[in-house]
């Protein structure tokens, strides 16, 4: 569509020049610029598009000894193997369960925090709250998981506190039923402050005149929230939601790898941790690539669908 538009514009303004001429002119003018870009281009071709090409091995029976090209084609065998594998149901359901729960509970938290911080009258206090709430974002996931393990172990602070209320003294991370709550809560703990920044900046950008007008029309605080603040925040919320949905099928597998153990596999094992175990530990290269491709395709489809829906519903989206 754009290409057509461009052609007509150039046809109208300079009717004699051809596209080839334009490209040649562009090349002469910008070749040093393009030369500068080569290292970036090489990075993207090798480390981003290289793995995408590598996805081809999910249709092959890849053997490192035979190499990428000589390994035999097997069609959809790897995908069939995955869909008929008893693990398929488990990892798919866990992925959906963990990502949906996470989305429902984690996503609104930073929005609420941003609204609260923006309503604080004392600027100094609001700065302190912000500074403190950003801290966990900078702590590594290894440390976060180990802090969580320490607090929720048999003698940990959280367990001994809860034991006053009749809670059984157990190592919580060895119990399947506590895995999901701990995963979600620690995620909120780590990200609530950092993710609120984006909403805070969107809140600051709302025109004060809108609030003035709402007040003159007799709107109270709550009415201002529903009629001014939230509509103005909506585009930001939508974009963040789409991005979050896109990430959701790649649920924080680094964190799960650190958190889970054979006792909790049944609730904690997700597609990406399964890919890691099958591929890098068991060296089923083609099979695990097929599983990974399934995961990538589903997350891409989710982003595309969310984007479509949000364009229909709210008129704003990613593209």
């Amino acid at each position: 569509m754009k290409r057509k538009g461009q052609a007509t514009v150039s046809d109208v303004t300079v009717p004699t020049v051809s596209r080839g001429y334009l490209w040649k002119k562009d090349w002469q003018r910008n070749k040093t610029l393009y030369a500068l870009f080569i290292p970036v281009l090489v990075f993207y071709i090798v480390f981003q598009y290289g793995p995408m090409m590598g996805l081809i091995i999910s249709f092959k029976e890849y053997k490192p000894s035979k190499g990428f090209f000589k390994s035999p084609w097997v069609g959809l065998k790897n995908f069939k193997d995955f869909f008929t594998n008893p693990f398929f149901k488990r990892v798919l359901l866990n992925t959906i369960k963990i990502s949906v729960t996470n989305l429902i509970f984690s996503f609104p938290m930073p929005i609420i925090l941003a609204l609260l911080i923006s309503e604080l009258r004392s600027k100094a206090y609001s700065r302190i709250v912000q500074t403190i709430s950003y801290i966990p974002h900078f702590i590594s996931i290894v440390v976060i998981v180990s802090i969580m393990m320490d607090l929720t172990s048999r003698d940990g602070a959280i367990v001994s506190f809860l034991s006053h209320f009749g809670f059984k003294k157990v190592t919580m991370l060895n119990e399947p039923k506590y895995f999901l709550p701990l995963y979600v809560i620690s995620g909120i703990w780590q990200n609530i402050g950092w993710n609120s920044i984006i909403y805070l900046s969107a809140l600051l950008a709302i025109d004060a005149e809108l609030y003035e007008a709402a007040k003159i029309d007799g709107a109270g605080k709550f009415r201002q929230l529903t009629s001014v603040t939230l509509p103005c925040l909506l585009p930001t919320i939508v974009v963040m939601l789409i991005l979050q949905v896109g990430k959701s099928f790649n649920v924080g597998y680094e964190k799960i790898l650190l958190m889970y153990n054979p006792l909790t596999y049944e609730v904690a094992d997700v597609i990406s941790t399964y890919v890691y175990r099958e591929g890098l530990l068991n060296m089923n290269w083609s099979y695990s690539t097929a599983v990974g491709l399934f995961n990538s395709v589903v997350s891409f489809a989710l982003v595309w669908a969310t984007n479509k829906i949000s364009q229909k519903v709210s008129g704003s989206g990613l593209w």
Partner: protein
């Protein structure tokens, strides 16, 4: 979003406030205070416990609200642990070299992508933004790095992550907001693209550069997964991977044994956490005021 150049607006200057508003304000202050406590207590607990006497740490139940019988004994063990020392050195190397490469490539990429009048730029942008939504995945990524003979080398933690697309787009947005006349007049004065980038564009976007430098440095400091899959020798391990061995894999095994080291093991863990986390926490407050600029979503909308 379209919030460029919007000045910070103070919402209401009215002095008179209703009772309801005052109650809400108090509730709000309390809620924010509770959140701060919930965030700080687990962190301070680790810090205080690391300075406490190992015997007290074993006996103690609940959170540490202050160090008990303060001592540095755990830190002495940490300093003597050769793995932690080499891990520290490896991590510092990766952070310094990796982040430098990140910044140079990101600046170059952002500069080129912000030159809208070059015809190939649109194609480059599309090609780069696409990688944000679709990726090859872990296994092909591993195989690519492996086939380049990078596995087992520290460079496997640097080259394959030489550019983060999100940071690149943020940087490009910052450069695109510089008026075109500035780089153009530099070019007319005879400066080449490299010179224009580093002496005109970079100084004008230094706030954003500061933020993405922090992002990259934090990423390198905290990452462990690539190191786990690419590295073979313990002498190459970065700090986080050493931490994982000490803190998480040991977690179930460290029961039993009553010698001094075993008794101090919990305290040593706490001290290790502090040693590994403090450096990164020290730099971020200085950059905090730039964060809002850095995380603009508007940037994502290619």
């Amino acid at each position: 979003m379209k919030n460029k150049n919007t000045s910070v607006v103070i919402k209401s200057k009215k002095v008179k406030r209703s009772v309801g508003e005052n109650i809400f304000q108090i509730v709000n202050i309390v809620l924010c205070g509770l959140l701060c406590l919930a965030i700080l207590l687990p962190v301070l607990n680790i810090v205080f416990a690391s300075f406490s006497d190992p015997v007290e740490v074993m006996k103690h139940q609940g959170l540490f609200l202050r160090p008990i019988k303060p001592t540095l004994v755990a830190y002495q063990y940490v300093a003597k642990n050769p793995n932690i020392v080499t891990g520290y050195m490896n991590t510092i190397f990766i952070v310094v070299v990796g982040t430098s490469l990140n910044i140079v490539l990101t600046l170059i990429g952002a500069y080129v992508l912000s030159r809208k009048n070059a015809m190939l730029v649109k194609f480059f942008t599309l090609m780069i933004v696409f990688t944000m939504y679709f990726q090859g995945g872990t296994i092909p990524f591993y195989l690519v790095v492996h086939s380049l003979k990078l596995t087992g080398k520290v460079w496997s933690l640097i080259f394959p992550v030489a550019i983060n697309t999100f940071n690149l787009i943020v940087m490009r947005t910052a450069m695109a907001s510089v008026p075109d006349s500035l780089p153009e007049s530099a070019m007319i004065d005879g400066a080449g693209h490299v010179r224009t980038l580093f002496s005109i564009m970079a100084p004008l976007t230094k706030a954003t550069i500061a933020v993405i430098t922090l992002y990259y440095a934090v990423y390198h400091w905290n990452s462990w997964f690539n190191a786990m899959i690419f590295l073979r020798k313990k002498s190459q391990y970065p700090l986080q991977l050493i931490l994982r061995e000490i803190l998480i894999q040991d977690e179930t095994a460290s029961t039993g044994g009553i010698d001094a080291l075993a008794m101090a093991s919990d305290t040593i863990k706490y001290a290790t956490i502090v040693v590994a986390t403090v450096p990164i926490l020290c730099i971020y407050p200085f950059l905090q005021r730039y964060f809002v600029k850095g995380v603009m979503v508007g940037a994502v909308k290619g």
